[in-house]
């Protein structure tokens, strides 16, 4: 998808694959035949640049034809570089500039509380993203309104656009930060499907909003992309693409 588009964010998408897969194939109540179903669980991709993983999963679930993926980031296509809810079936909220999605997800969660609905709002944030001030505004807001129907993730890959995140803007210890803002916090391996599923099931009983800090490897699964900040927003060329596909055992 990113190769065809010659633009997009592949590193963060690969690192978040197990998180998105766990949600859409194991945890979320959702119906690809009825994307607007009121009772569905919501998902907000707050790290909006990682559309490749979201679109691949949505297409595989049947929200739109797999063929559409070839038109990622193309004029006239519905698959925008960053999620755009009015156009793409299955996208619950538009995001793009970092820091917006957590707040939007909280608004959706507050709406569910007001309507006495029982579904969950899952929100995926990037670790670079949470350097945005708005994230910490949202952290306070979720605590105030006791939005325990929010289960959020930080994709903690320690990489951001310009390099190693602790060098660019130190954020550790993240768990203490979120706890002190009133959230229930879990530290997990973001590539372990079973651990993700078990943690989310446990998190559903929380009386506080939940932040799951998922340790991941940016570019996971492609040897030369792993932990390389270069692959934050650089699309693979032909040679890199073929090598990556070979590693994924698709045989080019």
């Amino acid at each position: 998808m990113v190769y065809e588009a010659r633009s997009g964010h592949v590193g963060g998408s690969l690192g978040a694959t197990e998180l998105v897969v766990a949600l859409y194939y194991h945890l979320m109540k959702h119906d690809p035949c009825n994307p607007g179903w009121e009772g569905r669980d919501r998902f907000v991709l707050s790290k909006g640049h990682c559309t490749p993983v979201l679109y691949a999963v949505l297409a595989d679930c049947g929200y739109f034809p797999l063929e559409d993926l070839k038109r990622f980031r193309r004029p006239g296509a519905h698959l925008q570089g960053h999620p755009y809810q009015p156009k793409t079936p299955g996208v619950d909220a538009s995001t793009g500039t970092l820091g917006l999605g957590l707040s939007t997800g909280l608004g959706m969660a507050l709406a569910a509380k007001l309507k006495k609905q029982t579904h969950y709002c899952y929100i995926l944030c990037g670790d670079g993203e949470i350097q945005e001030g708005q994230i910490w505004e949202a952290a306070m807001f979720a605590n105030k309104y006791k939005l325990n129907n929010v289960i959020a993730f930080v994709d903690r890959n320690y990489q951001q656009s310009d390099g190693y995140s602790e060098a660019i803007m130190p954020m550790d210890p993240l768990n203490i930060k979120w706890e002190s803002f009133g959230w229930r916090v879990y530290d997990i391996d973001g590539h372990d499907l079973n651990e993700i599923i078990k943690t989310v099931e446990d998190a559903k009983a929380s009386e506080r909003p939940v932040m799951i800090i998922a340790k991941t490897v940016k570019g996971k699964g492609i040897s030369f992309m792993e932990n390389e900040a270069k692959w934050h927003g650089t699309p693979p060329g032909k040679e890199d693409y073929e090598k990556a596909m070979e590693e994924l055992q698709y045989g080019v």
Binding site: Y84, Q85, P86, D92, A93, S94, T95, G96, T97, G99, L100, G101, L102, S103, T104, G105, L106, G107, M108, A109, L110, A111, A112, L114, K115, G133, Q134, E137, A138, M140, F141, K144, Y145
Partner: protein, 309 residues
């Protein structure tokens, strides 16, 4: 003459619209007493959410509420709504065209004593440049009340602009409020004055002064700046032969430029813009600042005389 606050019109309109729309909720960012949304809170405590001093989060939360079928009015001062939370207004609300209303008070130089940091003189310019946005700039208390109710009935993002001070009640603008429609307040062949917001009062006084001096002016009031009433603007130019715009906003990006763009393409004619020149304001009373920054009837008269043939 009776003087009332446009922000009070907002609050009273909200309470009325709240009756009509049970899904209407109000958010504020720790300025509820100033925006007057505290009045709504007193009537509907369960439908009011004080977000604290965090305008950015408030805007995106409002977007989330709208996605789930609520009708949120997010309220704060104009500078915060458009500058501090400009990204959220653009990307969370305008771009996906969500049904969020932004109630911005303390707009314009008449915000007064707080000084330039709090005087939103560029908010219309910012919001005008966002696709999908509707911009309502009512001229007095009653029009503010009606505009608020009209915004609630309209589906889509709306920016509502109110002031801080008390302003003259201009009874001639109290017809039914239709978004996108201008109001003809006076007709005359010598010059057309086009106003928005509280400048409607000054426009009418200017027309009166001109008439005493033997000139007959048309006055067209545009409480909707976007989408602008193109047909009426062109008609105003035809009737008056030349056009003076007046707004309590920067001459950059506001009503004046919107009108100039229309007329340069459809009906070129002499034009003058009355508004805040390209500079920041300062502290003072509303009246002192409206005088000093050239937003009075006499300034409109002066501008008109320069362009009348």
């Amino acid at each position: 003459m009776e003087y009332k606050q446009t922000r009070q019109g907002y609050a009273d309109g909200l309470i009325e619209a709240g009756k009509e729309f049970p899904e209407l909720v109000v958010l504020d960012s720790d300025v509820a007493k100033a925006t007057r949304t505290a009045d709504f809170q007193a009537v509907y405590p369960d439908r009011f959410f004080n977000c604290g001093v965090q305008e950015q989060n408030m805007m995106s939360v409002a977007a989330g509420l709208a996605l789930e079928g609520f009708l949120p009015f997010a309220s704060t001062f104009g500078v915060f709504a458009t500058c501090r939370a400009g990204d959220q207004l653009r990307n969370s609300i305008a771009y996906p065209k969500l049904n969020v209303k932004v109630g911005a008070t303390h707009c314009g130089i008449s915000t007064g004593g707080d000084g330039a940091s709090h005087q939103a003189n560029e908010d219309i310019a910012i919001v005008r440049s966002f696709p999908n946005m509707t911009i309502l700039v009512p001229g007095d208390y009653e029009e503010a009340r009606q505009a608020t109710i009209a915004a609630a009935r309209y589906s889509g993002p709306v920016y509502l602009r109110f002031g801080r001070d008390t302003y003259p009640v201009v009874t001639s603008i109290h017809g039914p409020f239709v978004i996108g429609q201008g109001k003809w307040l006076r007709e005359g062949p010598d010059v057309s004055i086009i106003s928005t917001g509280i400048m409607v009062h000054e426009a009418l006084v200017a027309a009166e002064i001109l008439s005493e001096e033997g000139f007959s002016a048309t006055v067209l009031h545009l409480p909707t700046v976007k989408p602008i009433d193109v047909e009426s603007v062109v008609q105003a130019a035809r009737r008056g032969g030349c056009v003076v715009t007046c707004e309590e906003h920067s001459i950059i990006g506001g009503l004046g430029e919107a009108v100039a763009a229309i007329l340069s393409e459809l009906h070129p004619c002499m034009m003058a813009r009355v508004g805040v020149m390209d500079r920041f304001g300062e502290s003072g009373t509303a009246g002192e600042l409206l005088d000093k920054y050239g937003l009075r009837a006499k300034d409109i008269v002066l501008a008109a005389k320069k362009i009348m043939l």
